[in-house]
């Protein structure tokens, strides 16, 4: 079954992963900018990273027939130094017209601190000024519920962002309903230990439906599974959900949301 993995950190994955994803039916993916596992020592480090995301990684993906898109930002884990973060934000506009850039992301919060909020607000404003889609990272574990509320309030307070142009990622059972109720799109990340399993994602679909929702693997440098999305397909089909339901979750919905960016070209 063809699918889109709308949240993968391919700079951290091997070429073998591209091959396995292509064999499993992946036709496109989107890669948000994120934390490298260590703090970068200069804004120039981000400049090089943004070049990697916009120039090099699309070529690597294309070798396996996968269309590569990206989102640019400074992630909330490196937002505790607002002066540094603003230097990085100033680099972003020059990359926004690259053909694979879909918007600003993954922005959000990590520990729900005041500096993280400042940088979140600056990047919401950047998205608004440049008419960009937004991909939101919500905090981990005990910080997720509070952080999700703060993020939604910050977007609403900005006043110029339509909720339908924002996808709030890493939702779980305690955050999915408020996200959908406020008109945002919701992403479920299939990730060992700290986010959703394929089974729980299937449960959430059965509870809240599959409108304005997608699933992703968020495969990165940590323990994660680049084939988590097809494994969730398998779980949904095993339960008796029709193939059309799965296709909507993993292809139709991503195409619908991402097509709000003029740079996204729906796979044939």
């Amino acid at each position: 079954m063809r699918y889109i993995d709308p949240h993968m950190h391919m700079v951290s994955r091997t070429t073998d992963d591209y091959q396995r994803m292509a064999l499993a039916g992946c036709v496109a993916l989107t890669e948000p900018a994120f934390w490298a596992g260590f703090d970068r020592s200069s804004a120039q480090g981000f400049f090089d990273y943004f070049r990697q995301l916009t120039e090099y990684e699309p070529k690597r993906a294309a070798q396996y027939g996968i269309k590569h898109y990206t989102w640019l930002c400074i992630n909330p884990k490196e937002a505790e130094d607002p002066v540094f973060a603003k230097e990085v934000i100033a680099l972003i506009p020059q990359f926004l017209n690259q053909p694979n850039v879909l918007g600003i992301g993954e922005i959000g919060l990590n520990k729900n601190s005041r500096n993280e909020m400042t940088i979140l607000e600056a990047q919401i404003d950047l998205a608004a000024k440049h008419s960009q889609l937004i991909l939101v990272h919500t905090p981990h574990l005990e910080d997720k519920l509070k952080g999700t509320r703060l993020i939604m309030d910050a977007i609403a307070a900005h006043g110029r962002i339509e909720p339908g142009r924002v996808l709030i990622d890493h939702v779980e059972e305690h955050t999915v309903k408020p996200v959908l109720d406020r008109g945002y799109w919701a992403g479920m990340t299939l990730y060992p230990d700290t986010k959703c399993t394929p089974q729980r994602a299937a449960d959430i679909f059965e509870t809240y439906g599959n409108e304005r929702m997608w699933i992703n693997s968020a495969g990165d440098w940590g323990s994660s599974d680049p084939l988590a999305v097809p494994k969730c397909h398998q779980e949904l089909l095993r339960r008796g959900h029709p193939a059309a339901f799965v296709e909507q979750v993993s292809f139709g919905n991503p195409v619908k949301f991402l097509s709000q960016s003029p740079r996204f070209k729906p796979p044939a």
């Binding site: 990590n110 729900n112 981990h140 005990e142 997720k144 703060l150 059972e173 059965e206």
Partner: protein, 102 residues
């Protein structure tokens, strides 16, 4: 009174057949974890770790007869405060709210 809505396409028997052994194993993992804790030297710590206390509180939710257990378990582990904190104390998360100790 309206009839209940069943949104899982499997029958209840099929759900048990498909998932019972997996969750039996997970329950045993939890039991063994609690046993392992008791075999470990507390090294003078008299109070239970806040994460274990949160786990025990969450376990009680599983069998309280009310719906939305997964949502309520996640809420029980969550920071209930609403204002941003002054400064991030670390990058990671611990899995349970420590009452604002950090």
């Amino acid at each position: 009174m309206s009839a209940p809505t069943y949104t899982c396409p499997m029958s209840r028997k099929q759900v048990v057949d498909a998932y019972f052994l997996e969750h039996r194993a997970k329950l045993l993992d939890l039991a063994a974890f609690l046993d392992r804790l008791e075999r470990a030297d507390p090294q003078g710590e008299s109070a239970e770790d806040f994460r274990v206390a949160a786990l025990r509180k969450a376990v009680a939710i599983l069998d309280d007869g009310k719906p939305d257990r997964a949502r309520r378990v996640l809420e029980s582990f969550s920071d209930p405060s609403t204002a941003p904190i002054p400064k991030a104390p670390m990058k990671g998360a611990l899995g349970a709210y420590d009452g604002g100790a950090r």
